[in-house]
Assembly symmetry: C2
């Protein structure tokens, strides 16, 4: 901050959000942060109240051609099917075993969640964490042939870092499984597990060989999607965010809750418009559908990020991981 | 830190936890913090993993002669009874209206929670926050004639501060209502709302005059007591604490979960032994019963804080509040 203040404005601007092209959306982020963090500004917000929430799938990392957790689930079903011969004819397991994303997606997000619950439950939280971690080490994205954890969006990593450098606390608020995200969000996004809110199942307190364990049950605790997002935010954080980033209709209520509060507010939607470098989809997609959001954005004052024209880089440069 | 390191050990010791008498319990806290925070120590713990959890009622503030939230609930029932004439003969409302703590306590914690749910639900989270804040401004403790928020324990405030000064993140994990605590924990304990875990009801996403609100429902989300404490910790934090402080049998599972993990661990129980300066109670109390905990402590390596001999001050000096 001190050094940047001494530089000509154009140079300072280049230091911030370098993977963003000069555009109205980039300018909106910078302007918002300046307004809420400049002491004496009429829209100044105390550091404690600087809460920013981010959807994960399609907002912070690639969700196509299928949600990463769906891929994890299908791979896991294949492993578990050795002791479940009945799954070859029983949906949704049969589609998963045929490696049929289309059949699986046809079940909708709720179907996917049921599949996840059926396959993720029964183990302790430590065992589940280990299964996620080891899967992420060997799994590769079918098109990009990179580990999924390297397919975060570089421009969004810069937004996270930029906000934190200005006193914001950054949270994930995702429809995805909370315990699926927490093992890796700290190293990939700089977001610690206690700032990751997601869908979760209920837990049971049990003893194993005299030691306490927490076992994952096949009972829903929270579906952190749509209206579940503001509910999850209130329950976990107890403060209303002043900035929120999403990419699909599942994020509408979070954006609405965030941007209808008093004072300066920032609501943004990542629009997937770049089939060449990533994917292009919106109103008719079974993954990350963005339909109502595109209509609501201009009315609600939400800014739509055009991936193709706003971002000069999509994924982080590959380093040794 | 830098300055303390230059001082003779006895002087430095006096700077830390000044309201604690020299004792094994005080020494255990200091020794634990030194072991987990000294770089190169075999028990060193990275700052991110330095999670400490505290029960609230009876551990951080006075819970006698009745839980503060029970008093709030009774006062609230009196207000609401104007439009509920049937409550004069209907339990548990009748006991509350007779201002009969004994009759109310006889219903047990579950009864109290039901009473709370019946009286707390139906309003928005903002309205509830306002009702808590305004009640706390005028309510006084019947014996000490002080605001409840001034009846925190000075020695525990020092522990919170001491831990945070050494990189710990301090959390409340209480059987009390989460939304009841969050409005004041930041100013009283330095613990922000997002680090307050407690019992909570489910929320509903609704619209009021075109604006979204979150309404409190009379449906349990989590009873954050006994086994609900480690479950709440895993759900909200996703990390296992390395230090935990409680005072009643409702804290046993939290202490167990905390102290059975690998590496250095600290489990402590506040024992109310000072009828003169505060209260003396344990195995037979209807509020904050400590029975199994007294038996388990020596077996589990938990340290019992003797309020009467370990603390040279109980409550903070009164300033203008």
């Amino acid at each position: 901050m001190g050094v940047l203040a001494l530089l000509p404005e154009s140079v300072a601007a280049q230091e911030v959000l370098p993977s963003w092209n000069e555009s109205a959306t980039r300018q909106a982020i910078v302007s918002f942060v300046e307004r809420v963090t400049t002491p004496g500004s009429p829209q100044f917000v105390s550091p404690a109240e600087r809460i920013a929430t981010f959807d994960n799938d399609g907002t912070l990392w690639c969700e196509s051609p299928m949600y990463v957790q769906a891929r994890f689930t299908m791979d896991r079903i294949r492993v578990l099917s050795a002791s479940h011969p009945e799954w070859t004819t029983q949906e949704p397991f049969a589609s998963a075993l045929r490696d049929d994303p289309h059949g699986m997606m046809a079940l909708g997000e709720k179907g996917i969640f049921e599949l996840m619950a059926a396959t993720h439950a029964g183990m302790t939280v430590d065992e589940f964490r280990e299964s996620v971690t080891s899967w992420l080490k060997q799994a590769r994205h079918p098109r990009f042939q990179r580990k999924y954890t390297t397919l975060s969006y570089q421009p969004m990593l810069e937004v996270l870092e930029y906000l934190r450098a200005h006193g914001f606390k950054t949270y994930i608020v995702s429809g995805g499984g909370m315990e699926f995200m927490r093992p890796w969000t700290e190293s990939v996004y700089g977001i610690p597990p206690e700032q990751v809110i997601g869908s979760y199942g209920q837990l049971a307190w049990e003893f194993e060989a005299g030691h306490p364990v927490l076992r994952k049950l096949a009972k829903v605790g929270l579906i952190d999607d749509k209206q579940g997002k503001p509910i999850g935010i209130q329950t976990f954080i107890g403060r209303r965010p002043i900035a929120a980033f999403g990419n699909s209709d599942g994020d509408l209520e979070m954006l609405q809750w965030t941007t209808t509060g008093p004072g300066a507010r920032l609501g943004m939607i990542v629009h997937h418009t770049d089939a060449e470098r990533e994917y292009a989809y919106d109103r008719n997609s079974s993954v990350g559908r963005l339909d109502k959001g595109l209509d609501a954005a201009p009315r609600q004052g939400w800014l739509v990020i055009d991936m193709k024209t706003d971002w000069n880089v999509i994924f982080p440069e590959l380093r040794d991981r």
